[in-house]
């Protein structure tokens, strides 16, 4: 059997500069943070990040100069730590392009990619300045003549998803909320899993329906215990409020942030 387990550094090294990169999880929860830190360590450039709702992952990648575009519906720390300051600064300074979506239109774009079609009609976006700003165009339903907004396919070059358990072939289980992660797996050209632990896949055979990611769609598996930290990982650990508070405080000046980055990536 094909053993797909490799090191974090080796896996992240395969992400090319300029790639469209989907990140699993949602806001403060189950982000592939270990991989995010490794992307910074390796000095990646020009990534277009895809996510419905991001927080620490998108913010720090914008601050570190790794991201040049963000395709998402929401970027922020919710009420816990407020606005994503580095994302905001980078967009306002023109270093990062905000490709604003509704969360559902990110899903529509990923669905188009997963289904192998060039675009996906989406309900809504009918009373919004977002389509004009982003160049989303209407299509006419050939059967009824009605107009509907068409979202172009979003095909991530790579998706990085953090999971609770994976076997050496990439069969994987996520506990609790899946977010858009399984859709990202089917939409992306290549898939990297980081996992809390690599387990014996034989143990999955008793209840295969709990294994929501099928190994044949996965390219690489990285064992990364605590790999969502400082975000939460359902059933295992909460988000690290103390660390995140310190991080947010350090994003206010460039000097503090650079010092913080050195600490995170050493």
């Amino acid at each position: 059997m094909n053993n797909k387990v490799i090191s974090l550094a080796e896996a992240v090294a395969t992400v090319p500069n300029g790639a469209t990169l989907a990140l699993g999880g949602n806001t403060l929860h189950r982000s592939p943070s270990a991989a995010v830190h490794e992307l910074i360590r390796q000095g990646k450039k020009g990534l277009n990040l895809v996510k419905t709702a991001g927080a620490y992952d998108v913010d720090i990648l914008c601050g570190a100069g790794v991201a040049s575009a963000v395709t998402a519906g929401f970027i922020g720390y919710e009420n816990v730590f407020g606005m994503a300051g580095l994302y905001r600064q980078a967009v306002e300074a023109g270093r990062v392009q905000a490709c604003e979506h509704a969360c559902y239109s990110v899903i529509a774009g990923l669905r188009a990619a997963a289904q192998g079609v060039p675009f996906m009609p989406v309900a809504g976006l009918t009373d919004s300045d977002v389509p004009a700003a982003q160049g989303f165009r209407p299509v006419i339903d050939p059967y009824t003549g009605q107009s509907v907004v068409a979202i172009p396919a979003i095909t991530p070059d790579v998706a990085i998803i953090h999971v609770h358990e994976a076997d050496t072939q990439g069969n994987a289980r996520i506990w609790g909320t899946l977010f858009e992660d399984v859709l990202m797996v089917t939409a992306a050209r290549r898939v990297i899993l980081t996992t809390e632990r690599v387990v014996d896949g034989q143990t999955f055979t008793a209840q295969p329906e709990l294994t929501t990611i099928a190994g044949f769609m996965v390219d690489m598996v990285v064992e990364a215990p605590h790999g969502a930290w400082p975000c939460s990982c359902a059933g295992l650990y909460d988000y690290d409020a103390e660390y995140l508070a310190e991080y947010v405080a350090c994003t206010r000046t460039a000097e503090d942030f650079q010092r913080f980055l050195r600490r995170v990536t050493r």
């Binding site: 949602n26 806001t27 403060l28 929860h29 419905t52 709702a53 998402a72 519906g73 929401f74 970027i75 922020g76 919710e78 009420n79 816990v80 606005m83 994503a84 994302y87 905001r88 967009v91 306002e92 023109g94 392009q97 905000a98 604003e100 979506h101 509704a102 969360c103 559902y104 239109s105 899903i107 989406v122 309900a123 809504g124 976006l125 009918t126 009373d127 919004s128 300045d129 977002v130 700003a133 609790g176 909320t177 899946l178 977010f179 858009e180 859709l183 939460s232 359902a234 059933g235 988000y239």
Partner: protein, 243 residues
């Protein structure tokens, strides 16, 4: 009795708007709607179907989370849907009520969660980049009704016209720390003013003309039952993170 404050009045006023048996959704960054929904379920809407981004249904969290996507919102759920399922529900017209908010909310009930444009209306290089509307641009036009809430009521928030329209849609009511707006013939109209505020204050803090009638109804103050339920639902006052 404690003095009546916005963190008490706002969730109670929102809870009163919810109906038994309906499907109700809140998204990210929504502690006040989370409390309002749990409050309504405890008071008058036990069969309300409580939906949120974790995909849990009618969760019964032992302690309320500050993040409203937190795994704590999985506690007590007997099934799990995906976020895609929830958006699909709204898209096909089966979501009864959505809770949404805006950094700006205008006289027409349109919201801006996106950006303040740069010079010459540049939306690609904005003066201020805001978090983004999350699902609102798809949900607000497709859900049967939207309840907006905002924990700040000032002229910068309540503007005649939003600087960028993240979305308009089927807004029914807007509840603020000072009053309840109802959208009538496409325009926000003050329905009631909270007991501790006044018509003068509401107009002074609102950036569009309200054309208040001589006698504006007062929002009924919380009943002892409502106050007890609020204490039971949110004893740690997690909702204060929004105020």
């Amino acid at each position: 009795m404690p003095p009546l404050t916005p963190d008490i009045m706002l969730p109670i006023a929102l809870a009163r708007l919810l109906r038994d048996g309906e499907t109700v959704f809140h998204g990210v960054a929504s502690p006040v709607p989370m409390v309002a929904i749990l409050l309504a379920k405890r008071l008058h809407a036990p069969n309300l179907v409580y939906l949120n981004i974790t995909g849990s249904i009618d969760p019964t969290p032992a302690a309320l989370p500050a993040s409203t996507v937190d795994p704590r919102l999985l506690q007590g759920t007997r099934s799990l849907v995906t976020l895609t399922d929830l958006f699909d529900l709204s898209a096909r017209g089966k979501l009864d009520t959505a809770f949404l908010s805006g950094v700006q909310i205008d006289a027409l009930g349109q919201i801006n969660m996106s950006l303040i444009p740069g010079p010459n209306g540049d939306v690609h290089r904005p003066k201020v980049r805001l978090p983004g509307g999350a699902g609102s641009a798809c949900i607000m036009p497709t859900a049967k009704r939207t309840l907006l809430w905002r924990t700040k009521h000032d002229p910068r928030t309540f503007v005649e016209r939003v600087s960028f329209k993240t979305t308009g849609g089927r807004v029914d009511r807007v509840v603020t720390p000072l009053c309840v707006f109802r959208r009538i013939e496409g325009r926000l109209t003050v329905e009631s003013i909270h007991p501790y505020s006044s018509p003068g204050e509401v107009q002074a803090q609102t950036g569009f003309a309200l054309n208040l009638p001589p006698a504006v109804p007062i929002t009924p103050p919380p009943t002892p039952e409502e106050l007890a339920a609020l204490e039971a639902v949110d004893p740690e006052k997690v909702r204060l993170i929004e105020f």
